[in-house]
Amino acid sequence: MSTSWQEMLDLGARSVARAEPEPEAEERRRGVFRQLRESLSKSRRALVEEISASLFDRIDEEAWERLEEALILADVGAPTTAAVVERLEREVEAGTVSADGEAVRERLIEVLAEVASAGRRPIDLSGEPAVLLMVGVNGTGKTTTIGKIAWHLTNELGLSVILAAADTYRAAAAEQLAGWAERAGAEMVRADPGGDPGAVAYDAIAAARGRGADVVIVDTAGRLHTQGNLMDELAKVRRVIGKQLPDAPHETLISIDATTGQNGLRQAKIFAESVEVDGVVLTKLDGTAKGGIVLAIASELGIPVKLIGTGEGLEDLRPFDPTDFARALLAA
């Protein structure tokens, strides 16, 4: 069973207005076209599992090379790939894993899932109000992800959400977030362009306290981790939040685009130096990129993936499941 929303969200003492629907009920609620698309993708997955099984028809030098290739093509990176493959080779040699295709494949998925599970913890929304801070490089999908999270919290769990448009740099950023706020049924606090991001966060939290809202989600401007002054600004926003509400932000998520290569590790590392990063949202997994770099992020930095983005629609957000992810890595 894949990780559920219930497992991924820690809502603290709150009793939610609506019980979380069963997966089957969820499917019934979705439109016909969506069902069709999903069934098509399921059959594609079946075919794809066939293909990945053939990786291991014979456990020979070529098979290990093909495996390496598959992982590198998934952006897992040379060091992590080497570590995983070596581990598996040793286990096969030692006899703890039998040298047949199916067994090796299953063990590999276990190992990859294990690596992907490093530091695994739910998203902390127990605060009252709970403050969630979104950070990341330009174009990785922060704002869209916030829209999706807000939608899930308001629609599925009946919580009240306030969005803070603390991206005061990008042209029409507040308008973009406002579009999502409307769709998600959340309120929004904004400033004039060029305003102070910390002040927006402050105002949003004050509003949440005043109105008794459950969650504040703070959007920030995309920034490259190589820009020291922008990283300092981010640290400042975090400090402002912390001064206003002790322990806040309760959760800081970094969005990582699944198409990102090895640079993803540097991104996570440098962002984590400026603000405490609790988890990764791996976005744009609806494309062909696998996002393998998150394995290195988890194993080297202890920062787990918590959510995955699978499209541009409100519902295209799921809790991260390490085993599902591991299978997908090996799929052709």
Partner: protein, 454 residues
């Protein structure tokens, strides 16, 4: 660490010099290092395979010269091959013989298309062109507003019809308007789309058909990993793009995607977007990208800047002086002044290989005030003292301090640092890798770029 790849290669090939020629084992070892470096740089796995094969053939035929490091020789060959692979015949934007030049921008979500459109518009505007933009992204919230805001900033007209119209129709209508208003160029911004989204790729093909662009540019994020090849191939099929724009090059992603796309599609990279400001947009330089992919830093930009300031003969004379360890404080003053003319030292420091990732230099902005002080101290010295700092005894130090309005300890510090710098230069001239700690100690003195005879 400077030149990570060349250091690794030096270590791998350290015993080759005595033999004079690389054997196959050496080359294999070198290829492994290169393969790792390229994979680290996100070059596509299959492209790496093909590239190292070609490279190996060339390296097996290479004679290792007595005076050169085998590691350096291999790096030189790799750099050349990479540059050739990524450069080849450059390509200018195709200009329409009559009517507006149409440029269609396409790419994945978040690649930086909209910003690139505005930057390109500004770039063309600087050349005196009248540019208009077409807002054909009707899907992403506030995409139209974003383009309109950017258009206002650069003074370019934005043709939009909100989000209810069909993007293909908007594009066609925009072209009609651009013609009617006699614009020199029309840049068409489109929605980010997945290369596997048949519907949206079809829409892109339709926009292309209706607007018959003279240039179709694929916008690619410099941090893209192995997926770049698949994306490029699909976009090549659907949109037949002519060239690429690489974005977010101000990050520290090595940008191997550039090599992958060029190798697989043969399309050149035309422009590089190097920052969030609209001015941060330039023609693409294949040789600089090759160095970056190998992790060698943007040495060439620095050399270019240096060459503008330094007279070539002077430079050669100086180099000889350094080699003979005859570098004086007078020379230092001259050099420092020239280096200062090149622009804020912080920016220059970052261009040196490995510098931008070195923690000591993070956020270093060299104190210009300190440099003023150094200059004043040297000016208070007699020519004899500048030529031979060993002369400077206690009473001379007092005089120099008084004359420059500084204190004796500043004079002491300068003389000491200068001595350290000369030692460092001796190291660098003999090809050794300088110790970062030594450099960090030399506060106020920027490491000098190597100036070489063309």
């Amino acid at each position: 660490m400077f030149d990570q790849l060349s250091d690794r290669l030096q270590a791998t090939l350290s015993d080759v010099r005595s033999r004079g020629k690389l054997n196959e084992g050496d080359v294999d070892a070198a290829m492994r290092e290169i393969r790792l470096a390229l994979l680290e740089a996100d070059v596509n796995f299959k492209v790496v395979k093909g590239f190292t094969k070609t490279l190996k053939e060339r390296c097996l035929g290479a004679e290792v010269l007595e005076s050169l490091d085998p590691g350096q020789q291999v790096v030189k060959i790799v750099n050349e091959e990479l540059t050739a692979l990524m450069g080849g015949a450059g390509r200018e934007l195709v200009v329409a013989p009559s009517g507006p030049t149409v440029i269609l921008m396409a790419g994945l979500q978040g690649s930086g298309k909209t910003t690139a459109c505005a930057k390109l518009a500004r770039h063309l505007g600087e050349m005196g062109k009248q540019v208009a933009l077409a807002a054909c992204d009707v899907y992403r919230p506030a995409a139209v507003e974003q383009l309109v805001t950017l258009g206002e900033r650069i003074g370019a007209e934005v043709y939009e019809q909100g989000t209810e119209a069909d993007p293909v129709e908007i594009a066609a209508w925009a072209l009609d308007r651009a013609r009617a208003e006699e614009r020199d160029a029309l840049i068409v911004d489109t929605a980010g789309r997945l290369h596997i989204d048949a519907e949206l790729m079809d829409e892109l093909a339709k926009i292309r058909k209706r607007t018959k662009p003279h240039n179709v540019l694929l916008v690619v994020d410099a941090m893209t990993g192995q997926d770049a090849v698949g994306v490029a191939e699909s976009f090549a099929e659907a949109a037949e793009f002519d060239g690429l724009v690489m974005t977010k090059l101000d990050g520290d992603a090595r940008g191997g995607a550039a090599l992958s796309v060029k190798a697989v599609t043969g399309r050149p990279i035309l422009f590089a977007s190097t920052g969030e400001k609209l001015e941060a947009f330039e023609r693409f330089h294949p040789d600089r990208m090759a160095s970056r992919i190998l992790g060698m830093g943007d040495v060439l930009s620095l050399i270019e800047k240096a060459e503008k300031q330094v007279d070539e003969d002077e430079a050669i004379a100086l180099q000889e002086k350094l080699q003979r360890d005859q570098f004086t404080l007078e020379d230092f003053l001259k050099q420092m002044r020239q280096v200062r003319k090149m622009g804020p030292l912080g920016g220059l420091l970052k261009m040196l290989p490995g510098m931008d990732s070195m923690k000591q230099f993070k956020g270093v902005d060299v104190d210009e005030g300190e440099l003023d002080r150094v200059e004043a101290i040297i000016l208070s010295m007699t020519p004899a003292e500048r030529a031979n700092p060993a002369l400077i005894n206690g009473s001379r130090r007092k005089r120099i301090a008084a004359g420059s309005g500084t204190r004796v300890q500043h004079v002491n510090q300068l003389v000491k640092q200068f001595g350290q710098m000369r030692k460092l230069m001796r190291h660098m001239m003999s090809g050794k890798v300088p110790d970062p700690q030594q450099l960090a100690q030399m506060s106020g003195g920027a490491p000098r770029p190597k100036v070489r005879r063309r």
